[in-house]
Symmetry: C2
Subunit: 155 residues, 2 copies
């Protein structure tokens, strides 16, 4: 039995469709159709196929965190101690809204976070929250002074 995440092949038309919608998810299908050169109905069918293949995970309105006051971005590496129950830690991390990514990683840290916060004090406060989680022994953090690339995989 194959894994559910089997890879799939897509042709040039699929790529054009995806590239357009990756830039603006609200582009009308008919507009895509015009630029790709096939009918709207065909675009529609292809999108359904791509969705069924699980290649499309959805669409998101992208909100600018800066305007909401979240001007700071930091990465936090977390060391576990022996009492750490990883799934429970994850569950608790999900309740910390400033944590926008969480990875299990190889290397020095057990898990690795990306955090968005308002300022240094806010980061300190978040670090304190993290320290209070059972199983977390220590954290190490570094701040992103500037993010220059933010994109999806190229298709």
């Amino acid at each position: 039995m194959r894994r559910k995440t089997k890879t799939v092949t897509i042709d040039g038309i699929d790529k054009k469709i995806l590239r357009m919608l990756m830039e603006d998810a609200r582009t009308p299908i008919l507009e895509v159709a015009r630029q790709v050169g096939i009918s709207g109905a065909a675009i529609h069918q292809r999108l359904r196929k791509l969705e069924k293949a699980n290649l499309i995970s959805g669409s998101q309105l992208i909100v600018n965190p800066t305007i909401l006051g979240f001007t700071m971005c930091a990465f936090v590496g977390i060391y576990f101690d022996k009492e750490a129950d990883a799934p429970l830690v994850i569950k608790l991390l999900k309740r910390v809204p400033e944590v926008v990514e969480c990875h299990y990683t190889t290397g020095q840290w057990n898990i690795f976070l990306k955090v968005r916060c308002k300022n240094g004090d806010h980061l300190v406060q978040i670090l304190n929250t993290l320290q209070e989680i059972r199983g977390v022994s220590r954290t190490e953090s570094f701040i992103s002074l500037n993010q220059d690339i933010e994109r999806q995989v190229k298709i």
Copy 2:
């Protein structure tokens, strides 16, 4: 004179609108209107206001990298040497499609990348590409075995 990135206040209705569209950017405005309890025209006006305030950066179709064979995610810290011309390095990094994020950071590394690749060999190949960039003296990488959280700031 204020910066362009001044923060802005949004009310509960704005939040509801944004939350719905952050989950699915293609939700029809009239559907949002029904759930929020005001007219479609009002939703439309608010969205224009939020766009003008630069709070909405756009919308994206989210493509599942796994299905395209990009099953591996890694973080790469880069050390510069004295010859490094940071803006030029960034410019060259933008040409490496597997680099999906790039941050200037405090701490041991000068810049910090998030990279999506197909397997270990692919990662090695990318690391070699990075090493060839003038000004890059050394890289350190660690692999994300599993990403458990991926979201935007909570509003």
